[in-house]
Amino acid sequence: MLNTLPAGDLLDLFLHFLMLSLLSIGGAMSTAPEMQRYFVVERGWISEADFTTAIALAQAAPGPNVLFVPVLGFQAAGLPGAAAALVGILLPSTLLSLGVSRWGASRRDTPLVRAFTAGLAPVTVGLVFATGWLLALPFLGDPTHRNGALVLIVLTALVTLKTKLAPIWMIAVGAVLGAVGLA
């Protein structure tokens, strides 16, 4: 599972993340389906299970959830991959954000910007639903653990929406249930 990639592939990875950075309006989660398509389907650098692992680890660990990105890079190409992925996904958006916050934030209410945020918002929501769906999908195809996993997914969503329970507890429950084979 721990791979390295030739320099050309590593560069391609970096460039791909540079592009995704600019597309990641609404956060890195909206780009997760694309990353799965690129890493698992198009390139075959990691497995479907690896992808789920990356997201799960980033959710479980402290810090911003964008850290699933360097995990993907790590799975594909070790530390150089992790570094390339992290810098790639952050560099363009960081520079853009700094620029906008310094020179443009005051123009938030122009019709152009209002239209931009309004127009893109439903697209982003659709993308995040897609991410959730893509993460749930593998469980549907796993007959042994399907029922437990589905219950866990639905319960987690409901508890998150209806209560203020911190995610870490649900993640812990998930870990235990999974470890004993129930989900």
């Binding site: 959710q59 810090g63 993308l127 866990l152 649900m170």
Partner: protein, 222 residues
Amino acid sequence: MNAARPTTDAALQRPASPLALFIAFSLLALQGFGGVLAVAQRELVDRRGWLSRTEFVELYAIAQMLPGPNVVNLSLMIGDRYFGWRGALAAITGMLLAPFLIVIALAASYERLAEFPAVAGALRGMGAVAAGLILAMAFKMLGTLRGNLLGPWLCALLGLAALVAIAALRLPLAWIVIGLGLLGWGLARWRVAALDAQAARRRDADVKPQSSASGGKPGSQP
């Protein structure tokens, strides 16, 4: 640093140095299991008083509009506000460095331990929870679309198109964001123009009764 106390705009503190920013954001990030935003608000607004709640919400709204992870953009803007690019760098490094080391260490350990069914099972269970967390996030975001000027039908159309395009058709993200984004932007601009025109007509209608009562003086329209 004072412990939790009421924070008025007049009583705002400021970080002492870029290093203080780095430490603050590191501590904040390390408490953020499953997401950093709530911790960020608690720490920066409630505990340290570096921002008022209003400012926090404002900055976060801008951070959401921009590409990139929202909390990362937020930390950039806060750091930049106090110490320019050095502050931004300190904040983003604080937000990411320690968590990055932790998560990579976890990933590396997992590589080694994955052969144990209990470990693989635990990750699988956490994966299911992660799916649930993200679906919940999607539903919460759905709520924010309520006041969207595009209205429910257009929002639903755009959202479903994006969902189908990426989940079912597996189209590249660039096509979807640029294609549907431009479409959404165009539709929204048209709506903004229509809404502004409607508002202008309403203003005119409000003024008319007075001007007709006084004999319809020319030039009394706004």
